[in-house]
């Protein structure tokens, strides 16, 4: 019981961290958008635009198709909750101890949210929803093994499977071949997992190019706000993971996160969205790099 109480204390600190990350998440997405706009010679919207959008959706009514079941309203909430739970699992900057799981729990708690979103995509009985769900699970089928390999490579380097243990032992100036390969590969996976160009395009509403947006097409109002907010939080969580566990630069974490957010913007500007069936080649490249990194260590 004693352990349980100390765990609950740690949990509260982790929740505090997650709430701060939640508050910062729209800003990061705003920065990525601003970078893209500037690179495209546009002024672009303010970096706070995402906050205004969430506020706007929050006040709007939700439109629901009569064919849907209770799952339709549940899914965005679960997606939001699981992303927030994943944010709790990041190494804590208040020194709290998240004793409820390691990196595998982190990967699979995100899978819980994905499961609900993909299932609910079929609830509105439209072709778009099913298309989105289908593509989402297809991309996930290739992303997940690569993430597993990235985890493995990191475990070999740091000797721990808990996220805080990994970050504590992560040697920031260790520029080995394995370290650099892992860093590049994780960045590729980060783009795929967060539905960014070149795998998915978050800014489009064209049926041929959408993946994640397709699933959320039937949502509106507060539920849509939850989904967008959770997606932004997920991007921030992955950027943080990338900065703390994979980017071998000796800089403060905040700077590294900003740097990688800018990198996302640059990569999105320089590349086109690739064809859906090329995604497997893209992720296989990341996987092979990681396999090399694993064997090389």
């Amino acid at each position: 019981m004693m352990y349980f109480i100390s765990d609950v204390q740690g949990l509260a600190l982790c929740l505090l961290q997650a709430v701060i990350l939640l508050a910062a998440a729209p800003l990061i997405t705003g920065i990525v958008k601003k970078v893209k706009a500037l690179l495209q010679n546009r002024i672009g919207s303010s970096i706070f635009q995402e906050y205004y959008d969430i506020k706007k959706w929050w006040g709007k009514p939700t439109m629901v198709t009569p064919y849907t079941s209770a799952l339709f309203r549940l899914a965005p909430c679960v997606y939001f909750v699981t992303t927030l739970a994943a944010a709790c699992m990041l190494p804590n900057f208040f020194g709290g101890r998240a004793g409820f799981g390691d990196v595998f729990v982190f990967v699979y708690i995100l899978a819980l949210g994905r499961f609900f979103m993909a299932v609910s995509s079929m609830d509105a009985a439209t072709a778009f929803g099913g298309m989105g769900g289908s593509r989402e699970v297809y991309v996930a089928a290739f992303v997940e093994p690569v993430i597993m390999l990235a985890v493995l490579s990191n475990v070999l380097h740091t000797g721990s499977t808990s996220l805080s243990g990994m970050s504590l032992r992560f040697d920031e100036v260790n520029l080995t071949v394995a370290g650099v390969l892992t860093c590049i590969a994780f960045f590729l996976v980060l783009l795929a997992e967060n539905s960014r160009i070149p795998v998915d395009n978050p800014d489009t509403h064209l049926e041929l190019t959408m993946i994640h947006e397709c699933m959320t097409l039937e949502y509106s109002g507060r539920l849509l706000a939850l989904i967008h907010w959770a997606s932004q939080l997920k991007l921030l969580v992955f950027l943080l993971l990338f900065s703390m566990l994979y980017l071998p630069l000796d800089l403060p974490v905040v700077l590294k996160v900003l740097l990688s957010a800018v990198a996302v913007g640059v990569v999105e500007t320089l590349n086109n969205k690739m064809r859906l069936f090329k995604v497997r080649v893209y992720l296989a490249a990341a996987g092979l790099m990681l396999l090399l990194a694993v064997v090389a260590q």
């Binding site: 352990y3 929740l15 909430c77 595998f104 099913g130 690569v146």
Partner: protein
């Protein structure tokens, strides 16, 4: 042993209901399934006390002997629990077989359960093989129950032939081991004096025989045919328990008879397991028949179990020390959990078939409104099979991944690391594809709108079936949120002191240097806290109901995504493995662009059947045709054969006196 005798007596009563007259078949049904329920309950209870430290007096009867050690106790527990759940389900489900050999179903059901329990209790090679064969025959009878359908008896005979081949291999393994020991009791066979070469032969025979029964690739081909053909509660028991009994037998050989393991055996077990897991789930996602999906998913999960076991073997061979048990714990925990969730899912499939009369998910849609409880239970089962946290599917997955991480970081030999990393990647694929597979199964069947009028007439199942499904869903969630009892039972079965550091309610593992923790209860607490907060914000949202915007027309049911369409991206991504045969044709006389009548045909032949079994079959038939020339049916020819043989014998005798 008295408890087990009592259980056996219950099953005996159940078998005797076969003798009831036809007019009393309803009573026979209640008595048979009730007896099976009580017998399984007694077995589960006794097995639990065994794992808690009680012991059993061995029983001998002539040359047959029955013993129960901790390795069999954990499987007895699994059989007992699954038996209780499925017998409860059968009380409702088997009623629909009234008038079509209902007494046979009840009697064989009891025989099947009894034979599985006696296989687990067998203390010598002969009783093992005897009950192993009775198990095969009883399950054959059950698979063949609806023998009016051609597909059913083809599947049943395929199963019978394959399982006989498997038994032959197992028999060779037993005979070789027994002939190198003083007698055929398991205790004597444990000190066998097999030399290295024969050990390889015994391993090859035992592994192929048990892998066939467990449905590992490439010996799985009977499984996706036989399991769907059987009545649903039988499929549940076959997938949930019978496959695990094969794992029990393999473990028995490995732990008792072949204690010194070759490096390559371990690699073979691990790689075959991982490949089975991957191919199983890949084919599962391509199927539209709900029971075939579940059957392929069983191939996947048996693959995961064997991969974890192989990983444990490698850890023991290479690392030594106290680390190796993690792979075995993972394999056993996953075997236990999988039996509960697979039983649940087959029962759900049975309910859907009962309610709609079809197994094709392409015809469903919107079933959640007609069968709300079945929908809820199927959702829990789908999450478990997709290894989602807070269900018991994830506990096994977490342990399996931990054991692979331990193997890879414990061993510096790069070739081993590469093998293990490749298996690890395959297991990663398996997890993600399983998620897609069960999203598809649940979403297409239960959500959206009805795709055919079958759904309009669908009805919810009766209270026995719902109670059984509810019970197993509860077990799935309880074992997911509080996994310690299962893990401790498994540690007891492997005769490990509780190696998992128990902190509060978490699983903690300190093998590879630092602590890995999984505390589902705390995770649940966290999720509950955040959910409560989210609920506060979203419960009073203003909802407007309106039909989906469809460019000015009303959307039809046909515009929904189909199950075949849903799995298309994965099918295309793995087309070099699946080799789908696709045929699209359209009526030419219609308008060239609009309103054409299209017909779409898709077939995914099982690669293994086509590449491995069909050539063998072709050669077999070829050789038979050739040999037929000797069998002309003419008496004169046979007399000349006798004559020729006699001359040969005489000459041989004259030459070698």
């Amino acid at each position: 042993m008295e408890c087990f005798l009592l259980a056996a007596a219950c099953f005996g009563v159940g078998i005797l209901t076969l003798l009831f007259p036809h007019s009393l078949q309803r009573y026979a049904h209640w008595l048979a399934n009730g007896a099976a329920l009580i017998g399984s309950g007694i077995t589960a209870y006794k097995a639990w006390t065994l794992l808690a430290g009680a012991s059993v007096v061995p029983l001998a009867w002539g040359s047959y002997s029955w013993v129960c050690d901790s390795w069999s106790a954990v499987f007895l527990l699994l059989t007992g629990i699954a038996g209780v759940i499925t017998s409860l389900y059968a009380l409702g489900y088997a009623q629909s077989y009234e008038g079509s050999r209902m007494r046979l179903l009840g009697g064989m059901w009891n025989l099947f359960l009894l034979s599985m329990i006696l296989v687990l209790l067998a203390g010598d090679a002969f009783s093992f093989l005897l009950f192993w064969e009775i198990m095969a025959v009883a399950s054959f009878m059950l698979v063949n129950h609806e023998s009016e359908k051609r597909s059913t008896w083809t599947a049943a005979y395929q199963y019978l032939v394959m399982t006989s081949v498997g038994t032959a291999a197992i028999m060779i393994a037993f005979l070789l081991t027994g002939s190198a020991s003083s007698n055929f009791s398991f205790a004597a066979m444990a000190d066998n004096k097999l030399d290295i070469l024969w050990q390889h032969v015994v391993f090859a025979c035992a592994f192929s025989g048990f892998a066939l029964k467990a449905g590992l690739v490439p010996l799985h081909v009977w499984l996706p045919n036989a399991h769907p053909a059987a009545p649903s509660h039988v499929s549940a028991l076959m997938s949930g328990v019978m496959l695990k009994i094969a794992f029990y037998g393999f473990g028995r050989f490995m732990f008792s008879f072949l204690p010194v393991w070759n490096y390559w055996w371990c690699v073979i077990v691990m790689v075959v397991g991982a490949v089975s897991a991957f191919l199983g789930v890949l084919y599962a996602q391509m199927e539209n028949d709900i029971k075939r999906i579940l059957a392929y998913s069983s191939v996947e999960n048996m693959g995961v179990i064997f991969a974890a076991f192989g990983c444990g073997m490698l850890l023991k061979v290479l690392a030594g020390g106290s680390w190796y048990y993690l792979g075995f714990v993972a394999a056993l925990v996953h075997a236990f959990n999988h039996s509960i969730m697979k039983v649940l899912m087959f029962m759900s499939a049975g309910s859907i078939m009962h309610g709609t009369g079809s197994k094709n998910i392409e015809l469903f849609g919107g079933l959640a409104k007609k069968m709300p409880y079945t929908a809820l239970f199927t959702f829990v089962g789908s999450m478990a099979l997709a290894a989602i946290p807070l269900t018991n599917g994830f506990t096994g997955e977490w342990l399996v991944l931990q054991s692979f991480i331990t193997l890879i970081s414990a061993n510096s030999a790069q070739i081993t690391r590469l093998w293990a990393a490749l298996c690890f990647v395959l297991l990663g694929f398996t997890g993600a594809l399983a998620l897609g597979c069960f999203v598809r199964l649940f979403g297409i069947s239960f959500l959206g709108r009805a795709r055919s009028e079958l759904v309009e007439h669908a009805h919810e199942s009766d209270k026995f079936m719902l109670a059984a499904m509810g019970l197993s869903s509860a077990l799935v969630l309880i074992c997911g949120i509080y996994p310690l009892p299962v893990v401790q039972a498994v540690c007891a079965a492997l005769k490990l002191d509780n190696e998992f550091a128990v902190q509060g309610f978490s699983l903690a593992w300190a093998g590879s240097g630092s602590l890995s923790v999984f505390n589902p209860l705390l995770l649940l607490l966290l999720v509950a806290v955040i959910s409560a907060a989210v609920y506060l914000f979203t419960n009073n949202i203003f909802v407007e109901q309106n039909v989906t915007w469809n460019c000015g027309t009303y959307p039809t049911e046909r515009q929904q995504y189909s199950a075949t369409g849903f799995s298309k991206p994965v099918r295309r991504a793995f087309d070099y493995l699946l080799k789908p045969k696709r045929q699209v044709s359209y009526m030419r006389k219609d308008h060239a662009y609009f309103g054409r009548q299209l017909s779409y045909k898709l077939e995914i032949p099982d690669m293994i059947t086509e590449k491995l079994y069909q050539p063998v079959q072709k050669h077999f038939v070829g050789i038979s045709t050739f040999l037929r020339r000797m069998q002309q049916g003419s008496v004169r020819l046979y007399v000349s054969y006798v004559m020729a043989t006699m001359v040969l014998v005489l000459v041989w005798g004259a030459l070698y006196k």
